[in-house]
Subunit: 196 residues, 2 copies
Amino acid sequence: MNKSLQDQIQFLVEIDKLKTIERRTRIIHGERRENDAEHSWHLAMMALVLQSHANKDVDILKVIKMLLVHDLVEIDAGDTFAYDTVGYTDKYDREIKAAHRLFGMLPEAQAEELLNLWLEFEAKETDEAQFASSLDRLQPLIHNYQNEGDTWQKYNITSEQVLNRNREIANASDTLWTYAQQLIQHSVDQGILTKS
Amino acid sequence: MNKSLQDQIQFLVEIDKLKTIERRTRIIHGERRENDAEHSWHLAMMALVLQSHANKDVDILKVIKMLLVHDLVEIDAGDTFAYDTVGYTDKYDREIKAAHRLFGMLPEAQAEELLNLWLEFEAKETDEAQFASSLDRLQPLIHNYQNEGDTWQKYNITSEQVLNRNREIANASDTLWTYAQQLIQHSVDQGILTKS
């Protein structure tokens, strides 16, 4: 077997671990917590279905690639809960180390491409990164809304925290930000999210 | 909220069910069975990483889209085990009905696009469909190899059945078919797959 293929297969076997990394959010149609692999699939589907709502024309292949790889670093660094301010202090350091180890398993040009995609996603500067990141915000919001408040209730999260966390959606899509605000307001009205 | 967005969100909530559809194959780094959502993510990653091994130049966005949606029909139709010859007799009928219901939840143009992608995948005639389908064959082969024979042993599958099932990989990639044959041979040599 040629060396490139061997390295690629080892990488593909290694990233199977993403299926074992649990998020705080529950799946909608079941009681268990969601894992990063199925979350990444769901986000890629959201990109496919919601792309026309982006404020700018985005390169959808790039958006989808970013979403497919965006959480791989959590194989080493673990999932940091959205409202965990302590965990966030060293999140980037832990994740960049993981990115170099994981993407570094691939042939050099491919390693560089995927590392750069992940860095672009994290920097949230390009239209593609902003749209991808906005979906990564919106998805757990939809899950919590569908699951009667779930992690909001469990961790005493207020509507102000949720609004602040999700405000960046506005950078990528006015339509999705309007929708997100409606979901948050409905959640407060229904008593599944505490108004701050 | 505009009607299109409302329909799209309902679709995205509905397809969360893919996370509850279990396959026969186990994940590599754990004991539980894999679900269709994480399987679809893994295949999209394989497409991204292995695209240079396709015999023909493929439109990789199309391949990834196909892989993201290819198993959605199993939300209604369930997973049909690869070696279940009885289940295969009405598989297509069950799945086409599911495809119309699920994709039909979306705005018309989008419903048509995704339905056509799924039909193209199923027909296995275009280069993109053949490459996508070859990855859908190769992935459980890798899992079974990594998991000491797993479903091969559990359901008394022979190397001849595995070779026949995977032979279509050759249509899409000589390199991956050579690799698949090596995996099968190693599996026989290690005693985790019965030679027929």
